[in-house]
């Protein structure tokens, strides 16, 4: 499902801003609002160059009033616009969660399906650069626990573009998570995979279709976002040890491609979930439960998870590295599983 390697290379941030720009050209109802989305181009570059192309009417810097401007996206969408609205860090959700949780996500249902709210809510997530407890969280599990929101967590520039166009064209609210580390920012360690081939033309990637980022036969690593790359790294290490790991990138948490999870586990007979979010009551549990419900007999070893161990993200490097999943931890866990 990837573009040929010879194709144009873009960073994830560029892939996203290109997707937004192409939709803004195509559809005058699409506009962008958020903090520092204009001249600054978005703190994580998702809206770079949009202001100069589309002007301040369609690329709107807002006051620091997330309840007002995310709520405004609801009203604007109800009135025929297709807002893209940025919550700068997902960690800030608590100042505006009511508009997201009780309104954006529920109004369509409460109206008996009469109201369409084509809102794309974009937000940055993730840690690893010492931004501490209020700027490093993942939290996608909380939004995936919300009936009425689709939840997208891309891992590559290619997926990012296709999923963004899909999100903007969806007539439902979509929350789109961008891991800071895969945006390909000039001011953060450059993950190699943060730049990759992205076709110039428009394309969409359907929601609810997980992507096997690496095929394998001994263990299924289910993951999403930045952790796809950590898992791929682990898979490489494991390959050297003769263990063949399959890396399944969920790409969207809602809808969740349970079939892909189950099918992969039926093949590999082992499941490990890698999740940058807090361990308990979240994504990692949901994936394991899905298998325990639907493919219990295929599991040859207890399911495992590598996730943030239910502590706030500490600032200091040694501690932060300790709590974040990485290739070594994943590989070590898989080796244990395979050893039995």
């Amino acid at each position: 499902m990837a573009a040929p390697a010879s194709a144009r290379q873009l960073t994830t941030a560029r892939a996203i801003s290109e997707a937004i720009a192409s939709e803004m050209k195509r559809d005058p109802r699409v506009f962008v609002m958020g903090e520092d989305v204009g001249k600054y181009g978005g703190i994580f570059g998702a809206t770079q160059d949009l202001l100069s192309q589309f002007g301040p009417d369609r690329v709107r810097d807002t006051p620091i009033s997330e309840t007002a401007f995310i709520g405004a996206a609801i009203g604007a969408a109800a009135e025929g616009m297709r807002p893209i609205v940025e919550l700068m860090f997902v960690d800030f959700f608590g100042v505006c969660m009511d508009q997201i949780y009780n309104h954006l996500a529920k109004n369509t249902y409460m109206s008996g399906g009469h109201l369409r709210l084509p809102v794309t809510l974009i937000t940055a997530y993730g840690g690893g650069y010492n931004d501490a407890a209020q700027h490093s969280q993942s939290l996608y599990s909380i939004f995936a626990h919300t009936p009425g929101l689709k939840v997208v967590v891309p891992s590559t520039p290619y997926d990012a573009k296709g999923l963004m166009i899909q999100a903007i064209r969806d007539d439902n609210p979509v929350m789109y998570f961008m891991h800071k580390g895969i945006m390909g920012l000039g001011w953060m360690t450059m993950l190699e995979a943060a730049a990759g081939p992205v076709p110039e033309e428009e394309y969409t990637i359907p929601f609810g279709v997980a992507d096997i980022k690496r095929e394998g036969t001994d263990v299924t690593i289910v993951t999403v976002g930045m952790m796809v790359h950590r898992s791929l790294e682990a898979a490489k290490q494991l390959a050297d040890a003769g263990i063949s790991a399959e890396v399944l990138d969920l790409r969207t948490l809602v809808p969740l491609d349970r079939e892909a999870i189950v099918n992969s586990v039926k093949k590999t007979h082992r499941l490990i979930v890698v999740d940058e979010d807090y361990r308990s009551y979240g994504m990692s549990g949901e994936v394991i439960a899905t298998v325990a419900e639907n493919a219990l007999d295929y599991l040859d070893t207890p399911a495992r998870r590598i996730a943030e161990p239910d502590v706030p993200i500490p600032y200091s490097r040694p501690m932060e590295q300790f709590v974040l999943p990485n290739a070594e931890k994943i590989a070590a866990a898989v080796r244990e599983m395979v050893a039995g």
């Binding site: 007002a68 009203g75 604007a76 508009q99 109206s111 109201l115 007539d171 439902n172």
Partner: protein, 331 residues
């Protein structure tokens, strides 16, 4: 703009209809809840917040609105819905939880959505303001001269959403009218102990927008003040804030023991009931005869009865309908 006869009659009709609806709901709500009150029983279960006594704010403001203007209401929103022209049958059916309801029975009384007249409401205090700002933004971006109106209680004026919404609407000069319906109570908490200043209209200064208070529960006064606020928005001159004093005749919700308020308060309110007041004014001006009055009341009664009958007769949704409409078909 002062009231002319035709408008006065129209406002009167609407107020009578609203009052009729609310008084009917008082009755309907008790069905299945006697001798033992059980909030989950009867044809209309759940919470029920009624607006008898508060008709002027709804009809006085909505008289200036078109179907293409956008309105958000709070948890107590029947009067706003009716004044905005929401289909009364579908609204009643929604309140009865029927398949023919505005939201096919999924929303209920605090969540009435009528896209035909651009009405919605919410059970979360203060939550209607941000969407109204967005609707105003859409109108402005689309070059329409439609406006958005957010109705909310005086209790809601202490929510953060109030501040953020007024500031945003002011900064972007959006066609939004914020209408604070001040019935002086937020459930059991009186405004005097919750709000730091006597008049929320004065808070408009914090946003550099007009703020006007109407101190009487009088539809003519509301009509006049709202006329300018709506016109101001329609002319592209930005938002404004109205504070309309009114009076809550019933409990916060039906079943409220009301241990917190003086039992004399409501009888006292009723001495200057806004519907009677308009009736008397119109009679004094020769705009309304007793006969016409009786006819208006009969017609209102019939409208309400018809809506309730429709609701009663409509079927319940199939249980598994619960699983539909979380998302619309992908567009």
């Amino acid at each position: 703009m002062p009231l002319d006869q035709q408008t006065a009659l129209s406002l009167y009709r609407q107020m009578v209809t609203i009052r009729g609806f609310e008084e009917t709901m008082v009755q309907v709500y008790t069905e299945g809840k006697t001798p033992v009150f059980d909030i989950g029983s009867g044809p209309v279960p759940g919470e029920m917040h009624l607006a008898a006594g508060q008709e002027p704010v709804a009809v006085g403001v909505c008289a200036h609105l078109r179907p293409t203007d956008f309105v958000t209401g709070p948890h107590r929103a029947h009067h706003f819905a009716i004044a905005k022209g929401v289909d009364l049958k579908k609204m009643a059916a929604e309140i009865f939880g029927k398949e023919t309801g505005l939201g096919k029975g999924k929303g209920g009384h605090m969540h009435l959505f009528d896209t035909a007249v651009k009405f919605s409401c919410s059970g979360i205090v203060g939550a209607g303001m941000p969407p109204a700002v967005g609707a105003g933004l859409a109108a402005k971006m689309q070059g329409r001269d439609d406006v958005a109106v957010a109705f909310f209680g005086e209790g809601a004026a202490n929510q953060g959403a109030f501040h953020e919404s007024l500031n945003l609407a002011a900064v972007w000069k959006l066609p939004v009218v914020f209408v604070c319906e001040d019935n002086s109570w937020a459930i059991s908490v009186p405004k005097t102990t919750a709000t730091a200043i006597p008049s929320n209209a004065d808070r408009a200064q914090a946003y550099g927008i007009p703020g006007v208070a109407v101190h009487e529960n009088d539809v003519a006064a509301v009509y006049e003040v709202a006329s300018e606020a709506v016109a101001h928005a329609r002319r592209g001159e930005g938002p404004s804030l109205l504070e309309i004093h009114t009076e809550r005749y019933l409990g916060h919700f039906q079943g409220d023991p009301e241990v917190y308020r003086d039992p004399q308060e409501v009888p006292h309110f009723k001495e200057h009931d806004p519907i009677n007041r308009l009736r008397d004014q119109m009679k004094a001006q020769g705009w309304l005869t007793d006969e016409q009055d009786a006819e208006i009341r009969r017609a209102a009664r019939a409208t309400v009865d018809e809506a309730i009958a429709f609701a009663r007769e409509s079927p319940y949704p199939a249980p598994e309908e619960a699983l539909e409409d979380v998302f619309v078909a992908v567009g």
